[in-house]
């Protein structure tokens, strides 16, 4: 070759890995598995991070509001715990696809990017709506219900959208579950809404994470 590489060996003769059709197919299978693993965006990681954030964040909110641990969990600490966990989950949600899709461009990445941007856009909408209601004299006791209710509505709808985009029944089902959770939280009233957020919301995400992980193991074993 012009840059000093040796010419290729004749077809199927000197490379032992390609000596027979069986060996060649095995090599293709092994290589496909390595590449797929390298590009795989792990939904269990993202769902698990959110499940944990909701479970602990919502739980801390509930305990603080309920005054059970008035000495242990002041409201500001519950706020910090939730804030840190939600920031971490956000980081995982954007970091995992970005890391796996590094150096890849094209239609699938555009879909991923547009979907990714839908989250901050939806929450900007939630924020604007709720702040405007607050400005117009929303009673203080309704504020926590409004915030959890509208946030869960946005999350639920975005998971429905994700289910449509990637033909994922798991995501679509989780979206439905989150919509139900949001409505149930508002119906439960304050501070029960935090308990619903924590147990049903966080629990739902953790179950979805476990299902995603189990399915992935199954498909890896079958591949």
């Amino acid at each position: 070759m012009h840059n000093g590489h040796p010419p290729d060996p004749p077809v199927g003769t000197t490379d032992p890995a390609l000596a027979s059709p069986g060996q060649t197919l095995a090599l293709i299978k092994a290589q496909r598995r390595v590449i797929a693993r390298n590009l795989y965006v792990d939904p269990a990681l993202i769902l698990g991070a959110w499940g944990l954030a909701w479970l602990v964040g919502g739980g801390a909110g509930y305990l603080a509001a309920h005054g059970w641990l008035a000495t242990g969990v002041p409201i500001w600490l519950a706020g910090i715990i939730s804030g840190v966990l939600f920031a971490a989950a956000t980081l995982v949600s954007f970091g995992e696809p970005a890391r796996r899709g590094r150096g890849v461009a094209g239609p699938s990445r555009r879909v991923q990017a547009v979907y990714g941007w839908s989250w901050p856009l939806a929450f900007a909408g939630v924020l604007a709506l709720n702040l405007a209601l607050d400005q117009q004299g929303l009673p203080a006791h309704l504020a926590p219900l409004l915030w959890t209710g509208t946030s869960l509505l946005a999350v639920g709808l975005l998971y429905l959208a994700g289910g449509m985009l990637w033909d994922s029944r798991l995501q679509y089902g989780l979206g439905l579950w989150v919509l139900v959770t949001g409505a149930a939280g508002v119906a439960a009233g304050y501070p029960g809404n935090f308990a619903v957020l924590s147990l049903a919301g966080g629990g739902g995400f953790l179950v979805a994470a476990a299902v995603a992980r189990a399915r992935h193991w199954q498909s890896e074993r079958a591949a």
């Binding site: 290729d8 059709p21 293709i28």
Partner: protein
């Protein structure tokens, strides 16, 4: 026990190019990958990868495009429609050969 495989696409039937074809075929159709990431995925040196990419490009199995990210040039590699088809034909041919070999072995036993 050396075996020459007849009817196989010699452009694909070399380990380095086969690895590249597998990597590109795992990407969703229409997606492209930068040279460094592809290098990372297939574990080849830049010179080696470049040589094999040119052979695949000569056969029109892949397309190499240059784009700019700011002022930095980025080389993208993508599987063409012909390349995806050629890779499918290649694996189909392998499976046929394997099935024929198994069939023969079975006949011999009887």
């Amino acid at each position: 026990m050396e075996q020459v495989l007849p009817g196989l696409d010699s452009v694909i039937h070399a380990q380095a190019r086969l690895r590249v074809m597998v990597a590109l075929s795992v990407l969703p159709p229409g997606d492209r990958v930068t040279f460094p990431r592809l290098q990372d995925l297939v574990g080849m040196t830049p010179g080696n990868l470049s040589t094999h990419l040119h052979k695949l490009e000569d056969a029109s199995y892949i397309a190499i495009t240059k784009a700019y990210q700011g002022r930095t040039p980025v080389t993208y590699v993508t599987l063409t429609r012909a390349g995806r088809q050629a890779f499918e034909d290649y694996t189909a041919a392998l499976r046929e050969l394997l099935a024929a070999a198994n069939h023969e072995a079975h006949e011999e036993k009887l």
